[in-house]
Structure formats: C-alpha cells, structure tokens
C-alpha cells in the first residue's frame, strides 16, 4: 500500500467578494478589449483550415496494392467495408515458371455512414493499400450516398499527404 498522502491546504481562492463590483468591472473590461480585437476566425468556405497530415479524414485506396485478403473487412468493428474479388490466371512472372492465380478486386466499398474512423483497417493492411487522407469535404445529401466505391476511394489517393517529420 502506498502511504497516505498529505493533501495540500485548500483555499488558495476566496469565496468572498473583496471589492464590490470589481469583478463585474473586470469582466466588462475583458469583453471591451475583445470587441476591439481581431477575432481569430477562419471564414470557412472562403478560406480553409489545412488539417494536420495525420488527420483521419477519409480513407484512400490504392487498388494496385490490394490483394483482396479481406483483413480490413474482417477487422472492421463496424462491418462497413465490403469487398468482392475473383481469382485470375496470371502469366508466370519468370519465363518458364508456373502460371499463378492472382486475386483481382471487383468491389471495394466503404460505407462512411457506418465508419467510425478508428483506422483499424489502415493499420492492419499488410500491403499498404489503404491510406488516411485529411480530406473532409465529402458530405452528401443522403445517407446512401456516403457509400464510397472503389473508384471514389481511389480518387482520394491524390490527397494523401507526405508523412510529417518526427521528433527524435
């Protein structure tokens, strides 16, 4: 057991009013100063804040890297990734080698109305097919429009930023 701690004394603040109306006047001084200060406002549709590179905005898909391994769909807590694929005969990589079966992606949908932006799919992907993009402007008028298909997810790839430098 840790030994009982000594607690610091209460009351480095006062509940009494030291000087009447001083607090009220101070408050009015603060708001008056604020009235003549330039507000730190970003006028959103005209000027945009640039999200940090790590921001989890939308998931981009690199179709070429995907092997249809289903790991992301299986690990997704919300079951919001739908993948379909088929196997295709590929010519042998080396002359004289065996022809190999290669999985081809037919469907890769992420339902952003279900997604909770946890990033588990990006993390488990063993082939770097999924990336986070900080892009956030993809609201839709209907919930069903939030289902992004393979083509749409590929478009996001252009918005994926370079990873930031890190502290050592």
């Amino acid at each position: 057991m840790a030994e009982p701690r000594d607690y610091n004394d209460p009351s480095d603040y006062s509940k009494d009013v030291s000087f009447p109306f001083l607090g009220l006047a101070k408050g009015m001084w603060v708001t008056l100063k604020a009235l003549f200060t330039k507000p730190p406002v970003t006028m959103y549709p005209q000027e945009k804040e640039i999200p940090v590179p790590r921001a989890r905005g939308v998931i981009a898909l690199d179709v070429d890297n995907c092997t249809v391994c289903m790991l992301c769909a299986r690990e997704c807590p919300d079951w919001c990734i739908y993948i379909e694929g088929h196997k295709e005969e590929q010519p042998p990589s080396k002359p004289g080698g065996k022809p190999r079966a290669r999985a081809t992606l037919d469907r890769f949908d992420i339902d952003y109305s279900l997604c909770m932006y946890c990033g588990i799919c990006v993390e488990v992907c063993p082939f770097d097919a999924l990336y986070w993009s900080p892009e956030y402007e993809y609201s839709e008028e209907g919930v069903s429009d939030l289902l992004h298909n393979k083509e749409k997810l590929t478009e996001w790839l252009a918005t994926v930023p370079q990873p930031p430098a890190v502290e050592s």
């Binding site: 840790a2 701690r5 209460p10 509940k15 009013v17 009220l24 101070k26 999200p51 921001a55 990873p163």
Partner: protein, 394 residues
C-alpha cells in the same frame, strides 16, 4: 461586501403556507442545460423542487454488450467514445488493464506520451466545463473564450493521434497512430510530429493568459459567486457514499486523486499539486477544475522536459489474446476515477467488460443533492457536476 452577501442566499420561503398542489415539471431530454439527453422529472412547488427523478438511457449504446463481441483492438477504438470530451483519457485505463493482463509493459517514451496526452485531454475537458458552466448561469462569453482555447489543445491532440476527439492512439504495449503509407513510412511516422514539444509548451504559455481572462470574466465575478457559493453543498461522507470521484469529490474536501494515491504511467515522476476544496459547494467544484488546468499544464511542461527518446512500442503478438483472468484497472479521468473490470477467458474478446464510468457515479447523487433546491440552482448544481451523457449512459 455585505450588500451582496445579504441577498445571496435564498430566503424566499413564504411564511404563510399556502396549500398548493405540486406541479410536475419535465426537464429534458431536450433542454439547453442537460448536456444532451438527460431527463429530470421534478416535482416542484413554485420554484422549489420537492423531489427529482433523473431519467437516463436516451443515449444508452450498450458498450458493455458491444465489447463482448469485439476484439481488444476494436474495443480501444470504442472506449474513447464513452466520454467524448476527454477521449484519450478513457483509453488509458483500459490499455493499462490490458497490459497488466497480458504482462506487457509499454516503453517509457510511450508512457510519457500517454501522460502528455492525458493531461491535454484533461485540459480540454475542463475547458469545456469552464465554457459551459457560466453559460448555464447565463454568461455567454466565457463559452467562446474557453472553446477557442480548447480548439488549440485539440489541434495538438489531432496532430499526434490523427483524431481530435477520438484519438484511438493507445495500443497494447505502446502508442501508435493509424497512418497509411508504405511500410517504411508507417514505421517512421509513428513518433510525435516534429515541433510538437515547442507547440505544446507555447500552448501552455497561452493557457496562462486565457486562464487570467477566464478568471476575470467568470471566476472573480460577483454574480457567479452569488450563484454558486453555498449552493448544492455535498459533504465529504455523502460524496464517498455516492461514489463521487475526481474534482467533485475533491471539492468536498477529500483529496483523493489516483495520480497521487495510486500512481500509474509516470505520474510518480512529475510534481504537481492536487487542489482540494473545503465546503463542496458549486463554487468549490468550479474552482477545482479551474486550478487543475494550471496543474495539468505544469505536468505537461515537466513531461516535455523529462520524456526520453526510445521505442514507442513493446513487442506484442500479432493476434491479441489475453490470458484468462480478471483485472480492474483505473485511472484519473478529468471527471474522476475511470475504471475497467476486464474478465478474460483467454480469447480474443473479453468475456465481460464492466465499465466504471465516472459521470454515471457522479450523477447518482443528483436526486439527493437537488432536494429542496430552486429551479435556477438545479441548473447550477447539475452543471457543476460536469457530466457527459455518453459517459452516464455508456
């Protein structure tokens, strides 16, 4: 000043007792000061509340059941949604418990990062309180001042974790953002972004200024004092009986802070004070949070100085399986003791996960403390308990 003192406590009791039937006033679930969807069925006699029955559950998401069908990695993503104003702080106790269960210890750098982000989460959570509490008392301006400052804090959290509210940054054995990129960049980008320490200590400096402003706007304000001093007094033994923790308990004069009483992470290596109140009234509860922001920024500054370099992640198996066992782990969430009781039967998912959410316990005292209060005081007391409905309903 006597004039303000004289008019400060309600003596509105009518000397001639009129026989009036009680009126049932339904407050919420849609009400500006119930922080979401709390409903109070109050029996009132004029403005005085005879009896109040809180009705919760409008935001019940069944996290304890959901956790039983989710793997441990998926639960980490879930738990930061319980109390969304301090998402990171909810992950910490869960991941500590899981690490205990699996016998893994996170590297020191990861532990320090957890400390920094926990304290940033505490600051942001308390700033929400500093914003919303004066609003409940009718003062609208502190809201903007505090929320603007919180935005800078959230930006810092986002910069590291990728999420403002839901970091999902803790992994068993370390910390790690989910960042897409080639395998090499994935590894590189795990650490804190460059310049983070500088920006954080700048933010802490700015915090001092904003706290001065807030104290001029709200803390020293006579009307705030009139509305909160000696209102909603919770004595220490009642607070313990109802399981109040965190600033609400400390306001009642019980200096119980898990960061000191049961140090976890690297809290035993930093120096800070735990503010303790005396009377347990609304003003004490308000001041606890106000003073804790200062202490938190002290901790963050020390952590920035002390953080060592090194790995962020201990070696863990790819598929997380916890051995059978039962572990209770807790941490000092901004709102109080946040605990997880993990019952594992050796699988990938817990057999049972009991979430001891802070706001739920803090709210149980509501019927007791609201008896005989006035309707305006109801708002003041409810606000001073600083609950989040997601944390109450789970």
């Amino acid at each position: 000043m006597t004039s303000l003192d004289m008019i400060h406590r309600s003596e509105a009791a009518v000397s001639v007792e009129l026989q009036t039937p009680d009126m049932t006033l339904n407050i919420g679930p849609q009400h500006p000061s119930t922080h979401g969807v709390l409903r109070l069925v109050a029996k009132v006699d004029g403005e005085r509340i005879q009896d109040v029955e809180p009705v919760i559950g409008y935001m019940h998401r069944g996290y304890e059941k959901l956790s039983e069908v989710r793997t441990y990695a998926q639960i980490t993503a879930l738990v930061n949604r319980i109390d969304w104003v301090s998402g990171f702080a909810n992950e910490v106790p869960f991941i500590i418990g899981l690490e205990k269960l699996m016998g893994v210890e996170a590297p020191e750098r990861a532990q320090w990062i957890r400390v920094i982000l926990s304290e940033l989460a505490r600051i942001s959570s308390h700033l929400v309180f500093m914003a919303s509490y004066p609003l409940e008392l009718g003062g609208t301006t502190p809201l903007m001042f505090a929320l603007r400052e919180r935005e800078y804090i959230l930006e810092l959290i986002e910069e590291v974790t990728g999420g403002r509210f839901h970091p999902n940054f803790n992994r068993v054995g370390g910390v790690k953002p989910a960042y897409g990129g080639g395998s090499t960049t994935k590894k590189q980008s795990m650490d804190l972004p460059q310049g983070f320490f500088q920006r954080t200590s700048d933010a802490m400096d700015r915090m001092d200024t904003i706290l001065d402003q807030l104290s001029e706007l709200a803390t020293g304000n006579e009307i705030i004092k009139m509305r909160t001093v000696d209102v909603g007094v919770i004595p220490g033994d009642k607070a313990l009986e109802y399981g109040l923790t965190g600033p609400n308990l400390r306001a009642s004069g019980v200096g119980y802070d898990l960061r000191k009483a049961d140090p976890y992470l690297t809290y035993d290596q930093v120096e800070f004070d735990v503010p303790v109140g005396r009377d347990g009234d609304c003003y004490d509860r308000y001041m606890m949070r106000f003073l804790e922001i200062r202490e938190s920024s002290k901790i963050v500054r020390q952590a920035i100085d002390k953080i060592p370099s090194g790995p962020l992640q201990a070696k863990v198996p790819r598929v997380l399986k916890a051995p059978a066992g039962q572990v209770y782990s807790r941490a000092e969430n901004p709102k109080g003791e946040f605990g997880y009781f993990i019952v594992s039967e050796g699988g990938k998912m817990p057999y049972r996960l009991k979430i001891r959410s802070t706001s739920f316990s803090n709210l149980t005292i509501l019927p007791w403390v609201l008896q005989g209060q006035l309707i305006p005081d109801l708002v003041a007391i409810m606000g001073s308990l600083d609950f989040v409905l997601g944390d109450v309903d789970r």
